[in-house]
């Protein structure tokens, strides 16, 4: 296992992961930050392969690199007038740095100082089948709860993000007013002046 190729793979993937994550920290443009996130996630997927967890690696590529990054790019593009910049807030960066350095010291100390008693057995083979079987045998209840959670979360996300008709009308009218260079009053859209209706028949 300690051959040259394995070392090369580990160190280059580690550099890719950490480098991508660091570039998220320093890049000024949010879209660039998402692209660096993709690079970092690909590095993590490669590290899963060096740990011979091939199923997890494929899931990582499909979900993180494929789905979540695209979702984030959509969210950035749907918020066009928000700030594109990815800068750190000066107020919180100092205290955040202190907290993070303390967490880093603690985790490093635990990782190095503990005797993990690691054993190196032969890695699992045929992982997709084993994981699938244990998902529907031992872990059937968490599996079902996960299904309900995903459904609820996606329905909730759609319900939150959906523009109802009134909001859509206000939004369209504000864009139009901006184009025309006019003052915009949302009340005019929500409560348009009601044309005089013929009086409804009184109930007898």
């Amino acid at each position: 296992m300690s051959d040259f190729g394995f070392h090369l793979a580990f160190w280059s993937l580690a550099a890719m992961t950490i480098g991508g994550a660091s570039m998220i920290m320093v890049s000024r443009n949010l879209i660039h930050a998402v692209v660096w996130l993709v690079l970092s996630m690909l590095g993590v997927a490669g590290l899963y392969l060096t740990l011979s967890a091939d199923f997890i690696a494929v899931v990582q590529v499909l979900i993180y690199v494929g789905a979540i990054s695209v979702l984030m790019l959509f969210a950035i593009m749907l918020t066009p007038r928000a700030e594109r910049d990815n800068s750190s807030s000066l107020k919180t960066a100092g205290p955040a740095g202190v907290v993070v350095i303390m967490v880093m010291i603690a985790t490093f100390w635990v990782a190095i100082d503990t005797d993990w008693g690691s054993v190196r057995e032969v890695a699992l083979t045929d992982q997709a089948r084993l994981i699938g079987e244990s998902l529907i045998k031992h872990y059937i209840l968490p599996f079902e709860i996960g299904a309900v959670l995903l459904t609820a979360a996606l329905v909730g996300a759609i319900a939150l993000a959906r523009e109802d008709d009134e909001d859509a009308a206000v939004h369209a009218a504000s864009l139009q007013a901006e184009l025309d260079g006019l003052e915009f009053d949302p009340v005019d859209v929500v409560d348009p002046p009601i044309p005089a209706e013929p009086e409804s028949e009184a109930r007898s």
Binding site: M1, F10, I24, V34, A53, A82, E83, M104
Partner: protein, 104 residues
Amino acid sequence: MIIGLEHYLILGAILFCIGFFIALSKKNAIGVLIGVELMLNAVNLTLVAFSRFSTTEIALSTQVFVVFIIAVAAAEVAVGLALALVVYRNRQTISVDRTTLLKG
């Protein structure tokens, strides 16, 4: 030098700390979500490393656990981005510094 468990643990710790710093310090709400995703990835990396360097039964349970974490993370990011869209629609900004509606 053999690449052992400690290498992966240190790598996961560095990745977690970078994600933590991003989540705490970024102004943009989507930037904060990116930081949270990095932290979840670091935890998954650590779990998979533990699974590789343990006995076979523990390895299988750990990998199933990682699959669950990935599913929950996907749900979390979908709801988080929908919330960011709602905040943007109401306030025309998603800067967490300027979303101070609940501030007394």
